[in-house]
Amino acid sequence: MTTSTQWAVEVEECRLLLGNGGAEAIVFHLADFRVKDVEQVALTGPSGCGKSTLLNLVAGLRKPDTGIIRVQGTALGQLSPAQLDTFRGQTMGFIFQNFNLLDTFSALENVMIGMRFGRAFPKGEHKERATLLLKRVGLQRRLHTRPVHLSVGERQRVAIARAIANHPALLLADEPTGALDPVTASDIFLLIREVCDEEHCALLLVTHDLNLALQLPRQVDCCHLVQHHALSEVTA
């Protein structure tokens, strides 16, 4: 189930049925696609073209009906659900447009919870590393503040710290600057790039902002990768 590890992500001819299988059902067809180790890729395209679905497939949060997806050489389809969860926690980090922080917990606890389920570091190191990462993203004075009391920029910084807490090989960012003003968006974008360089992890970043996308070494238009077919067309 493991092949060479020069690729952070390998997608081979994936198909996914979207909908309930009735007349309205759509087949999501993803062409071959690869991301090298440590490579930073911007995934662009209009709304509804399938960027987020692609990200969810790579994360193993959705399972393709056919085709193979490998992350760091590991075929996700061959992992049991529990193995897949553990693998995701150890190998991938997520940054969402709406931050998706846990409001009940402080910034520090949010990062530590990420580490708890990532299982990449011994329990005794969680607090120290989480503190270090939050300092790295400029939140040394906000360690014990709950997300509701943080600015949107600060929230995304916590999300970045949480995403890299398990030292992932792949960072998946879904519109990470979409909810931010241009200045903050630029800062956050730079921060994401910096931490990816520091942590030596590949970046697959979904964005509508072409200016930001062009700052990354590689841009992929999702419309060229993904095709949508009506189920009736495929089965005809």
């Binding site: 553990t86 150890q90 998706n100 409001d103 919870i113 389920f117 299982r119």
Partner: protein
Amino acid sequence: MSLWRMAWRYLWGRALVTILTVTGIVLGAALIVTVLTLQRESKTGFLNEGGQFDLVVGAKGSPLQLVLSSIYHLDSPTGNIPYARFAALAQDTRIASAVALGLGDNYHGYRIVGTDTNLFSLPDRRDPKKLLFNLAEGTLFQKDFEAVVGAQVASQTGLKRGDTFVGTHGLTVTPGTSEHHAFPYTVVGVLAPSGSSSDNAIYVTLPSVWRIHEKEAETHRQRAGVAPNAPPSTKDLEVTAVLLRLKTIGLRLLMSQEIQKQTEAMAAIPVNEMLRLYQQVLRPMQLLLLAVAALVVIVSALSITATLYQAAERRRRDLAVLRALGAHPREIFTLVVLEALLVTVLGLATGWLLGHGGLALAMPYFRDSLGISLSPWMSDQVEIFSLGLVALGGLLAGILPAAQAYRREAVTDLSSN
């Protein structure tokens, strides 16, 4: 961060709802603890007290009434029997001790019991090294119209050694009844609190009771054709009941049947009567209370289910994020179940404390007013089993929302934000 800690933090994240849910469990558990403890202790207390005597002999009537009136100082006596009956029983070689009781008057509702000092020399059957009655101060009565008062009588009426009082005719306070002003009693001793019916009684000599009621007896004698002012003979004297301790407990039934054959008396076995009373009257009431407690617990369990279900629904995004971070579905399941478990355990522990603490606080009331001596902090197997069932119920209440959270696809809730 452990799942326990996360569950705890989530509970405190919705503190008001958590407190209300816990309160339901607290009330249910406290009610269960209280009812079971009172059930156990009242049963033990009743049977222990009843077990001090093997037989009670009195006028024919209800055996339960005889036992209640002569041992527990409740209910009306069944009537009187001739003193000669007592004298005969006292001579019976199968009897270890026979104590006669004469009732008829009260002081502020506390019964004045005519007896003799033999009653005070009886050992306590629960602990034969101790006496059944113990003086807190003073002495036993030596002569007529001296009185030894129970602890509760002393505390409630203020009677103390050296005080005098007069009895009122009858066994309960009834307005307009005559007081025996010509025959005042003097308190010579106060009994130590025992948690039994003796706390609520006043003990005097049998002749005191007889002398007060001599006039009444004389009327009876006149009606019977005896010359007025003739001195009463022992044939005219009566007692209300005789308490018997037998040399062999196995003789209870035989002697009871023997006495039953006598026309003027009957014998009752106190333990049997009290068990019957317990089974017929007290137990159904206690079962009813337990049913109420069970209902409270069931409602609380449903409340836990509803609360956790709603909480899990509101936290769908959180749970999906945890899945994205690498949490296994079984960890999500455990997290939700732990919340139910924490609510239940917190409710049970607080309910246990509240129930037993409440009983400890109310102990003086139960001892003084109801004559029930409690061990308020004791938990027996039935209680532990019942609370265990509540814990299981709480756990089961968490399983439905936990299973719901377990089954959800993380991607649905992540993409909906």
